[in-house]
């Protein structure tokens, strides 16, 4: 099973390559994509590696086709993935919604660059955080992880596949240009120690009458794959548990509530955060991804000046860990939210926090230095 996969050991590797290798270890055997800076290395590496492990790679004509190919392959049983950046992520939104509605597991990597529009292709941004949550129309609950190191590009890619298989829906990995292009240390554990989750398949024979592919007795229904012999209708239309389009408010209520509650009911299991020097902190930074890297240093510098600084790092951006933020805010005088955008994740923080919340909005194209964050800590803690 582990033949052809990246062997356990210590590496100095690029973030995007670590992501691609992790996908293979997670069981990904299909990749469809369209190259776009700064995500292209994932696509390039998958085109080289997938055939070596018996998988399939296809470069599609655009990102719309890419996400649809990924959803198709997943419905045929392959763990599937695509990778893109801002403009491509915009194009994929309708397909992501289709994946949510049809409960199709897959992983989408968005390596954020400067925006809006084509923006700054080669430089960093964090301006797609709200799009990751609200990008497609209608009600669904996005699951979004944000890596801040090469190691997490590896670990969270595997986690994204596992979560996607467990909850039967697309999961998004929100990297950024610096984390993806950076080379850093990576430890690959023995493969047998890596947890791999596979989707549940129906435990009844295809021949049973009234088989329900979206059986409401399950929080996450087992997935009948194309070719297994089950009668399955996969549609983006509001459907009942048989998968048939059905336009009553009753069915709509069941369908939409089912989609959001499988995530909401398990949010606490999905939430992941890092608590850094938080114990006695009253000036608390809440941030994520590359912006957490200068923030570690800023917190330490502030501590050396006698300011009780700390950081809560969001590893799961969505579903938003509101209870954790509320709990942390109870000890805080002030929360600072540095991010490389004009103020996005500050909004759910404000909604959850019971203290003053201040933004540090940094335009795309560069990472704020530790000094920039320290200046804000000094200013607000006075």
């Amino acid at each position: 099973m582990t033949e052809g996969l990246l062997p356990p050991g210590k590496y100095f590797m690029q973030g995007n390559i670590a992501c691609a290798e992790a996908a293979l270890i997670a069981g990904c055997r299909f990749f469809a994509g369209y190259p776009i800076t700064p995500s292209s290395e994932i696509l390039e590496w998958m085109s080289y590696r997938l055939p070596q492990v018996g998988g399939h790679f296809i470069q599609m004509e655009d990102e719309i086709a890419s996400i649809m190919a990924v959803l198709g392959a997943s419905n045929a049983g392959a763990k599937s993935m695509t990778a893109t950046s801002g403009p491509g992520f915009s194009l994929m939104q309708e397909g992501i919604g289709f994946g949510m509605m049809t409960e199709t597991p897959c992983v989408i990597v968005n390596v954020q660059r400067g925006g809006p529009s084509t923006g700054i292709p080669t430089l960093v941004g964090q301006g797609d955080m709200m799009q990751a949550k609200w990008g497609s129309h209608g009600d669904y609950e996005a699951i979004v992880y944000v890596p801040n190191s090469v190691q997490e590009m590896f670990d969270l890619t595997i986690k994204a596949f596992n979560t996607s298989e467990e909850y039967r829906q697309p999961v998004i990995l929100m990297s950024d240009q610096v984390i993806s292009h950076m080379y850093g240390s990576l430890v690959v554990p023995p493969h047998e120690e890596i947890k791999i989750v596979n989707r549940k398949l129906p435990n009844v024979p295809p021949s049973i009458p009234d088989f329900k592919p979206f059986d409401s007795r399950y929080e996450v229904p087992p997935m009948a794959l194309a070719g297994m012999g089950y009668r399955v209708h996969v549609t983006g239309l509001t459907h009942d548990e048989r998968g048939y389009p059905y336009y009553t408010h009753e069915v709509s209520t069941w369908c939409v509530k089912h989609l959001v509650s499988k995530v909401r009911n398990n949010a606490k299991k999905i939430w992941e955060v890092e608590r850094f020097m938080l114990d006695d902190a009253d000036t608390i930074i809440i941030t994520y991804g590359i912006t957490s890297r200068p923030a570690y240093q800023a917190v330490k510098m502030a501590r050396s000046e006698g300011i009780k600084a700390g950081m809560l790092r969001l590893i799961t951006a969505w579903p938003f860990p509101d209870e954790i933020v509320r709990e942390v805010s109870e000890q805080a005088k002030v929360i600072i939210v540095p991010e490389i955008n004009m103020g996005q994740m500050i909004h759910p923080v404000k909604e959850a926090a019971e203290c003053l919340v201040v933004g540090l909005s940094w335009a795309p194209g560069a990472v704020p230095t530790p000094d920039v964050i320290l200046d804000t800590i000094r200013a607000v803690s006075r």
């Binding site: 100095f12 080379y183 240390s185």
Partner: protein
């Protein structure tokens, strides 16, 4: 915590980024933490190219470099850009003496070595970057010669002898310079 910020600067085709990869990997295999970020102009060959390597005994917080401790420079543009952008090295400048004029640089420890010329004499201009790494390793002792040579051997299995030879040339030049940091 001992943290070193090292910037390699030259032009596309000199193996600047490859040099950064080798340096970072050698550090990681020694049990240190390392981070490499790269920047380059739009041209693949001949445009400016920079590799920033952070090496630390402890996990690295901020992986980017604002002002390097060591600048390894293999083009005039690399030197000029570094100094004009406030990225003059704090501790040491290592330069290719056949390609870079340092007559205007003052008050910094400097070591010049004719890396490209020596590489050409050995028959392969491409290995000049390895000579720079040899000198860097000898002066700073941040990573061991052995670690770098192991990574170099793994990276270029078809040119082991040539690379080892020019690496040791770099070591020799560094020793003769008498510079210590």
């Amino acid at each position: 915590m001992v943290r070193w910020d090292i910037s390699l600067f030259g032009f596309g085709g000199q193996g600047i980024i490859r040099g950064g990869q080798i340096l970072g990997e050698a550090a990681v295999l020694e049990g240190k933490d390392a981070a490499l970020t790269v920047a380059y102009g739009p041209e693949q060959i001949g445009g400016w190219s920079r590799a920033d390597v952070v090496i630390s005994d402890e996990p690295i917080d901020f992986p980017l470099i604002t002002k390097p401790d060591v600048l390894i420079v293999m083009s005039q543009e690399g030197l000029d850009r570094s100094f004009n952008e406030g990225r003059a090295p704090k501790k040491l400048l290592i330069y290719d003496s056949g390609l870079v004029d340092v007559s205007k640089v003052k008050g910094i420890n400097m070591v010049g070595l004719p890396a490209t010329k020596v590489a050409e004499q050995l028959g392969r201009r491409l290995v000049a970057n390895i000579m720079m790494l040899g000198a860097f390793s000898e002066i700073t002792k941040i990573v061991k010669h052995e670690s770098l040579l192991n990574v170099i051997k793994k990276t270029f299995p078809k040119a082991v002898e040539l690379n080892e030879r020019i690496f040791m040339e770099g070591v020799r030049y560094a020793k003769e310079s008498g510079v210590i940091v």
